[in-house]
Every structure is written in structure tokens, then in C-alpha cells.
């Protein structure tokens, strides 16, 4: 099975900081890592390759520094890594990003049986990129997958939706976005890291290689713009009330009454 995994580098911080003037994420001075769900997608691809054979190719769009994420993916076990980089790709929204990724996937030979993406990223959290790639390539897609089985020419995948488990049988080629629980992330042997940085190659494709025009990519090719950024008000820590149960119940009732949450019907009961 030929598999392409799309990955993104994200800042390795619990909370992303924003540059309010430029409306972008502050990446300076913050170490970047492979987006955690993309890492799961990569591990899932390697598991499938182990069962079904084939190759795993990793692609990312980003500045030249993104090469480090690709090399880490090679250390994890990917066969090939392609960096999609061009100064004109800067400022891309999810649509322009998906467009570049889709074009690169079309250029990969043979055309993959399966494209895997993380369901969303920890920095922008939109969940757009996977579905948009599938749309552009005219492929079936299943999002939020946490189980994958191969059944002949099909994949049978499971996803959680509103508390139910959906089981979907999908034809190949297809695109899946994956989420937590699909497979574990392993620790890396040091020798694999050493080899990924010293002996493996990362291919680089720019706008010309992908036969793209300026107006299709980056800021110019974006359909959306960030107009305003604001931080949601912090959630209060809540009040902790202590005491014996009867006192607590009385206290709670008075508080709920004061907030007009209880209606007369409830009070009668």
C-alpha cells in the first residue's frame, strides 16, 4: 500500500502565543515539533506498511526549517520525505495550504492508495486541511478516525461521533484524518535519529516543481484573512464549599435560586 502522510510543525508549548500585529503565531524562541495527531498518522501508516507492504512518504509545507520534522519522521521509519517550500507559500490559509499539498500528492508516483493527516493541529485547530485536500483530489474522506482495518480492496475505519461509534467502509484511494487512540507513539532509537540526519535525503519541491502560480499560493491564494484576535475570558476557578451534606444542599439551593436556574416546577419536587 502506498501511503502519503501530511505533517505540520507546531510550537512545542502548552499554550500558543500570538503576535497581535501580524495576526500570526509566535514561533521565535519556541521549539517546533511534529503536530501530535500527525505523529499518530505517521505511526498508523507504518503499522499499515508493516501489514500490507508498500511505502510511506511524508510531506510538509513550510519554511526550510521544517526539514527537521521530516527528518524526525524518517527516523520514525518513513521511506521518503518531501519538503514543499517556497518564499511565496508564506501567509497561506488552510485552503492555500491544502492546494499546495494536493498538488504535491498528484506529483508523487505512483498516486497513493491512502493519504493520512492528523485531524487537527495544536496551533490553529481548524481541521480543514485534510478534508480540503480530499475535495481537491476528488477522493472519499473520513475524518476523526481512531481505528483502521484492511478488508480486501477496502478500508474499514471507525470514528467517534457524538458518543456513537461510526463504522465506515471506504474504497481506495482515500483520505483519512486520524485522532487519538489510533495507535501508540513509540520512543525513537538514537541510531535511527542519527541516521535520519546524517545519511537520509529530504527532497525539496518549490512552486516551479509543482507548476503552481503565485496567485494560487500563500497569502495571495488564501480565501480567508484573520481580522481580529482575542483571548476568550478565563474560566473562573469555581467556589469550593465545605461542610456536612445538609448544610451543603441548603447552600447549593440558595445559590441556584439566586441565579434563577430553578423554576417553580423543580422547587415543588
Amino acid at each position: 500500500m502506498e501511503i502519503v502522510v501530511c505533517i505540520k510543525q507546531v510550537p512545542d508549548v502548552p499554550t500558543v502565543r500570538m503576535d497581535r500585529e501580524r495576526m500570526t503565531i509566535i514561533r521565535e524562541g519556541v521549539e517546533s515539533v511534529i503536530n501530535p495527531l500527525d505523529y499518530i498518522a505517521l505511526e498508523a501508516a507504518l503499522e499499515l506498511r508493516q501489514k500490507a507492504g508498500g511505502h510511506v512518504c511524508i510531506i510538509t509545507m513550510g519554511p526550510v526549517q521544517s526539514e527537521v520534522a521530516l527528518r524526525e519522521a524518517l527516523a520514525v521509519g518513513a521511506d521518503q520525505a518531501i519538503l514543499l517550500t517556497d518564499p511565496d507559500f508564506a501567509g497561506a490559509d488552510t485552503l492555500a495550504t491544502s492546494h499546495v499539498l494536493a498538488r504535491a500528492i498528484q506529483k508523487i508516483e505512483p498516486f497513493p492508495d491512502l493519504i493520512l493527516c492528523g485531524m487537527q493541529t495544536t496551533d490553529s485547530d481548524t481541521g480543514h486541511v485534510g478534508p480540503q485536500i480530499a475535495e481537491e483530489l476528488g477522493l472519499p474522506q473520513v475524518c476523526g478516525v481512531n481505528e483502521i482495518h484492511r478488508e480486501g480492496k477496502f478500508l474499514v475505519v471507525k470514528r467517534l461521533s457524538d458518543g456513537f461509534v461510526d463504522t465506515v467502509k471506504v474504497t481506495l484511494p482515500t483520505l483519512l484524518t486520524v485522532t487519538k487512540g489510533l495507535c501508540p507513539v513509540r520512543d525513537l532509537p538514537l541510531g535511527a535519529l542519527e541516521a535520519a540526519f546524517s545519511t537520509k535525503d529530504v527532497l525539496e519541491w518549490n512552486m516551479t516543481d509543482l507548476d503552481l502560480k503565485k496567485e494560487e499560493v500563500g497569502f495571495a491564494g488564501s480565501a480567508t484573512q484573520v481580522r481580529r484576535l482575542r483571548t476568550p475570558p478565563p474560566r473562573g476557578s469555581g467556589d469550593i464549599i465545605e461542610g456536612p451534606p445538609d448544610v451543603l444542599v441548603g447552600h447549593l439551593l440558595r445559590r441556584l435560586e439566586a441565579l434563577s436556574i430553578l423554576d417553580e416546577e423543580d422547587e415543588k419536587k
Binding site: R71, D187, P189, L190, G191, L193, E194, A195, F197
Partner: protein, 380 residues
Amino acid sequence: MRLEPTMKQAVIRRSVRKFSERRLIAAAVEMDKTEQFPWDIAEEMAGLQYFGLEIPATYGGAGLDSVSTAIVIEEISKANAAMGLCISVHNGVAASPVYLFGNAEQHRRFLNPLAQGKKIGTFCLTEPNAGSDASALETNAIRDGGDYILNGNKVFVTNGGISGINLIFAKTRADGKDLGFSVFIVESEREGLEKGPIEDLMGMRGNPVCPLSLRDCRIPLENRLGDEGGGLKIALSTLGGGRLGIAAQALGIAQASLDASIKYAKERRQFGKAICDFGAIQDLLAEVGTRIEASRLLTHRACDLREKGKKYTMESAMAKVYASEIAVEATRVGVQIHGGYGYTKAYPIERFYRDAKVCEIYEGTSEIQRVVIARELLKG
């Protein structure tokens, strides 16, 4: 000259840190309390090639450069100094000399299991009456046909209780003639080698340090590492690398201590504010932080020289003495910042303090390091 870690080194640091935080921090508390070496964790580490850091892939090692090796040892020691010690000694003064001075057959028999973590290694130089003064060695190896007969006592053998392969330094004699000292690879199961009881140590308690004795221990010629009488050359070349391991280890302990002190100083409130808002505490943190950064640069610079095949005797001694002394200072200050709580076992800082001290002693005391540095400075 490059002062920033490479992309690869940054990823290696992150990868080792992730593993260490998940597997080694909790184990450090247990090891200190029970003095038990966690074989299950060691096995996992063997699978991740922590036992063959600089050994080429052909022997099952990771083939890392010297700076990466220092980074690995620093990160392990930051989480678990006793495990950092095991890895540092195994790699720096056991696997490394077998690689550098061993022949093809010795590589097959001894380097493969060392690099793959199937056997843990020791370096046995110190004796009851010989430490800093290595020329006072009393262990002797007398030629007997194609074999050597070894007799003597070794003390404070790091990894002693868990070792499978031991490098023994002994004075070689044949036909009554003194031939200088040589190194012998002695398997733990070999008849005539006996391990003594585990030392009850102040720190690094999860690492089973013990004495080894040799009583008419017959060693075949094939187990002699390097030339007969070539022990001094092996010792000198090995100790340079060993010192870098200890510097990296000390650095890890110092950094762990600074991180813990910063966290505590931000949380602990007195007089209505966090104690990190007081100038006195800030002075302590600033001083320690600066010196840790300086030790890291010294250590990586010495590693870089080693990597390039240049002489690094003085630089490794400087890195070792400076990093080990800052480790003791950082942990002392750390306990001070933690106040009364720092003196309890509720916080790890008291363990860091106990673990740090030995860095000023083993692999050449601070005093001996200064002798080495001064000798190099005065050479010109």
C-alpha cells in the same frame, strides 16, 4: 565555531527528555529508596541504543557524535542521576576503550553485547591503595604460558553489581620483569573473580557500586585489551572521554536542581508574594543559571575537540571540574531556596545534593583535574 546545537542534537535532546521524563523520574525515587537497579527500564534503554551511544551501527550502537552523547547523558542524569552514571560509565570508560583498542575478535565477543546493552561494563582502576595515584596499583597479572593469572582487589566499581564485562587494570609481569600495566577484559562469570557487597552510598544509590576481587583468576591472552604494558595509554585516552561523561552528568544534576528551584520559587509565597520576586533569591538563581550555561559550553567545546580528533585533555578536565563544582553549588543553593522543605525527602532536591557530591570525586577528583589543567597550561 558553532555554539548552537544542530537540528539533530536538538531532536535527540527532546527525544531523550521525553523518554526520561516518562520512565526515569519516578524510577529515581525508587532507586534511591530501595537501591535496586531497574532492569526492565535498562532493557528498554538498550532497545533505544542508550548503551552504545558513540559505537557505530555495525556493532549495534547509535553512532552518535560526542556532543550528542553529552546531551543524552545530561538529559538522563537530569531525570535520574544514578541511571545517568550507569550510562556514562558504561559508554565512556567500558564500551569506548573496547571499541578503540579491541581487535576484531574482541569486538565480536565483547563490543557487540556492550553496545547492545546485553552486558553492562565497568572500568576497574581504583584500588584500596591506588586512586588518584594510579602508579601505586597492586593488582598484578603474571604471564603463565598463554594465559595471565590475575590477583588483586578493586574498589568503588561503578556498575559493579550489574556488570557482565569488566576492564581490569593490572601490573603485568613476566619472568620476574615488570612490564608496566595492561588492561584485561574479565567476564563477571569467570572463575576467580568475585564481587563484594554493594556499598552503602551517600548518593547515586540506585547504581550498585561494589568491590571486585581477583584470586588466581586465569585470563587467556585473547582477553588482553591492547598491547602488553599499554594500560597507561588506554587509561589516559579513556579518562578524557570519561571526564566528559561526568561533566555531562553533573550538568544534568545542576539543571534539574535549577529547574526545581525555579518552580519552587515561583510557587512558594512569603510576605504576600512569590519568593522568586525577592532579589536575594533572584541572585542565587542568576548565578547558578549563568554557571550552568558556562559549564555546558565548556563541555560541548571539549566534546567538539574530541569529535574532531584533536587533543582535549585540558578542556575535558576544565569541563569536569567546573561542571561538577557547579552541580554541588546548584544543589546546595537549591536546598537553600527550598528552605525547610528542601531538607526533607518530600522534594527531590535533597537527593540531587547527595547525588552531586560524588561528581567532584570520581573519574579524577577536582584536585587532580586542576593538576592536569595546570600541567597543560604550564607546558607552553
